[in-house]
Amino acid sequence: MIEDLRQLGGGAPIACDLCLIGAGAAGITLAREFIGSGLTVSLVESGGLDFDSQTQALYAGKNVGLPEHGVDIGRLRFFGGTTNHWGGRCTPLAPLDFAVRSWIPHSGWPISRDDLESFYRRARDVCGLGAPYSDADILSALDIQEPALPPNLLRLKLWEHAPYPWSFGAIYREQLRNAADLRVLLYANLTEIATNAERSAISAISVRSLEGTTRIIRARCYVLCCGAIENARLLLSTADERAPALGNRRDLVGRFYMDHFRGRVATLVTADPQPEIEAVFNYFGDPAQRLYQTGIELSPEAQRGQSLLNACAVFDYEGDPESGIAEAQAIWRELQDGKWAPDIGEKVWRVLRDLDGVAAMVRRRLSDDRHPVMPLKAGLIVSDIEQAPNPESRVTLSNTRDALGQRRVCVDWRATALERRTAKHFALSIGSALLRLGFGRCRIEPWLVEPPGEAEFGLSETYHQSGTTRMAADPRLGVVDADCRVHGMENLYVAGSSVFPTGGHANPTFTIVALALRLADHLKVTLRQFARAAP
C-alpha cells in the first residue's frame, strides 16, 4: 500500500521487519525484492508521488569546493528519487575498478566484479534492458565497424540505455502499491535515529512530515537509501556531545566524496560533412527500440602502465547551423511555438537550396535513428573521468537548518592532480588514434595543454555523487562492510553509491541496483536469523 503520513497521522509505532529509508533506485529495488517474501517492509520517502518544491528545498546545501550544482538540483526528493531524471545509461563497473590500484591511494573494494556478476545480470531486468547480448553481437547487429584503436591504450566502449524515461517511481508504483506486506509511507522524513545504550543497534526511527505529523517505526533492520550526500548527512546528524555519529568512530562518514568529472577534452575537425567517425561513435537504435551509445574508454593496460584513473569519452557532434536541415529545424521549432520567423522566406529558401541534404538527413534519422541530423561542423569529445578517492573531498554538516530543524549539508568537492593528468593523457591518446585512423584532427582543450597552474580546471560534475560511506572490510578504512552493514552496528545498512570506494567511469545507477539486489539477498537471510533468534 502507499500511504501519506500527513493523512495517516500520529499514532502507535509502525512495526516491520525491514525499514528502508528513501525510495530511489536502491530503496525501490530493495523493496521489490521482499514482495512475497513473508517479511514486512516499510519504505519511507520524504516526498510525495510528484515533485514539490517545499520538499525539494530540504536538499539545499552549501558548497565550498569545486562548483557542484548537483547538491541542489542533481538529486530529486520524491518517489523514485533521482531516477526521475535518470538518463538511463547502463554499464557495469570494470573488473579493474574493484581492484586495489597501487597508483591510486585508497582504491580497492572488498568485493570483486565476479561477486557482482550475477547481480548485474539481475539488474538488467530492473533497469528494463532485456536479455543480455555480447558487445560483439550488438555491434554486429548495429552494423558498426569496430575501429582499430590501439589495443594497449584505448577500447571501443558500448553503453546500453534503459528505455527513456525509466523512473523507478513511475515504473514500479503500482507493483509496490499492490504488494501485501509492503507499506510505502510518503512525506515521511527521517528526523531521529534511536539506538540501544551501546549505540550498536538501531531501536527505532522517527519520521516527520513538513506539517509536523510524526510516527515511530520499529524494525529489525534499517537501510539508508538516500544517495551519497543525504546518507552521509543522516549519519552525521546522529552525533551528539556524548558520542560520535553512528558509523563515524574513525571520522570517515562524509569523506571521500566523489563524482565523475565531465567535460570537453578535445574537438575533432574534419572537412567531410558526413565523416566516417559519425557512423562509429554515436547513438544507435535497434529494431527492438533499444538504444545504445558507443564511445572510447581507456584500456586497463593504459591505466596500469601510465598510472591513470579510468576514463571514457563520447562524441557530441556539432552541426553546421547554416545547413538546410538546421534551417528546417529552426522553422519547425518556431512553428511548434506558434510563431512565424520574421525571415521565414530566407530560411525556406535555404532549405530549398539544400533539399537533397535535408532529405538525406531526415532519411538517416528515421531509418537508422542516428544523430546528428545536421551536417557536421565538429565533434566535441566529452569525457567522464573517474575521481580519485580523496579524504579531503567531503560532506559535512553546515550550521544552517532546514524546515525540519535538521542541519543542512555542506559539500567540499575536490579534485586531485590525477584527474587532470588522466584527462590530458586520455585526450592526447584519443587525438593521436583518430589522426592515425584518418577520422580527423583534434585540438586538445587549452586548459589541458597550458602549463599546469595557469589554467582553470576544465571539468565539471555529472550528478554521480558517491563515496561518502565507503565500503571496506577493515573498519579503520570504511564505513560499511562488504555486506553494506555499518561497521559496529548490528542492524543498520547503507545502500546506494555512497558505499562505492571508487567509481570507475560507469554511470552509477546500474551498480546501485546490482548492489541493492545483493543486499536484499543478504537481508533475507539475516532477517530470518533475527526472527529465529527473537524470543
Binding site: 575536490r414 587532470r420 593528468r421 587525438g431 589522426l435 592515425r436 580527423g440 582543450e445 597550458e450 582553470e456
Partner: protein
C-alpha cells in the same frame, strides 16, 4: 577552490604545448589539416626569407596546400617551443633526407610517407593545441622559415 587540488605538474610523454596569442581557431583549421589543405588565417609576418633558404618551390606548396599562411602560423608556434628545429637545413634533412622535392607530387609523397612513419611511432607534437605528426610540424616550421607568403 584553491590549493593543490587543481594542479598537476605532468608533462610526460608529449611535446610541450605552445602558448600565447598565436592560437589558430577551430574555424581556422576546420578546412582540414588531414589532407594538408590548411586553413587560411592571418599571422604575423616572418622575417624576410633568404634566397638560398627558399628551397621549397612555392608553386608546389600552393598546389598541395592552397594558401600556406596557416602552415606558417603553425610553424611559428612549433618553433617557439622547438628552437632546435629552427634550422632549414636540419628540417630539410629530417623531412626529405636533405634534398628538397621539386614537384608537388614528390613533396606529397614524402610528406605522406613521413606521416605514416610518425603515426606508427606515435611521434606527435602539440602545436597550438592541435595534434600534428612530427613531420607535419616540421614541414610547417620549414615553411615558416623558408617560404614566402602565397
Amino acid at each position: 577552490m584553491s590549493g593543490p587540488a587543481r594542479r598537476d605538474a605532468d608533462q610526460r610523454g608529449f611535446a610541450q604545448p605552445a602558448t600565447g596569442p598565436l592560437q589558430p581557431s577551430r574555424r581556422d583549421v576546420v578546412q582540414a589539416l588531414a589532407c594538408w589543405s590548411l586553413p587560411v588565417i592571418g599571422f604575423p609576418r616572418v622575417p624576410p626569407v633568404a634566397a638560398s633558404d627558399a628551397a621549397i618551390p612555392p608553386a608546389a606548396l600552393v598546389e598541395i596546400f592552397g594558401d600556406t599562411a596557416p602552415l606558417r602560423l603553425l610553424g611559428l608556434l612549433y618553433l617557439r617551443d622547438h628552437a632546435r628545429d629552427a634550422d632549414p637545413q636540419r628540417l630539410r634533412h629530417a623531412l626529405f633526407n636533405g634534398s628538397t622535392p621539386q614537384t608537388a607530387a614528390q613533396m606529397a609523397q614524402s610528406v605522406a610517407a613521413r606521416r605514416v612513419r610518425d603515426l606508427a611511432a606515435e611521434d606527435i607534437a602539440i602545436v597550438g593545441g592541435w595534434l600534428l605528426t612530427r613531420g607535419e610540424a616540421q614541414l610547417c616550421a620549414l615553411v615558416a622559415l623558408t617560404a614566402a607568403p602565397t
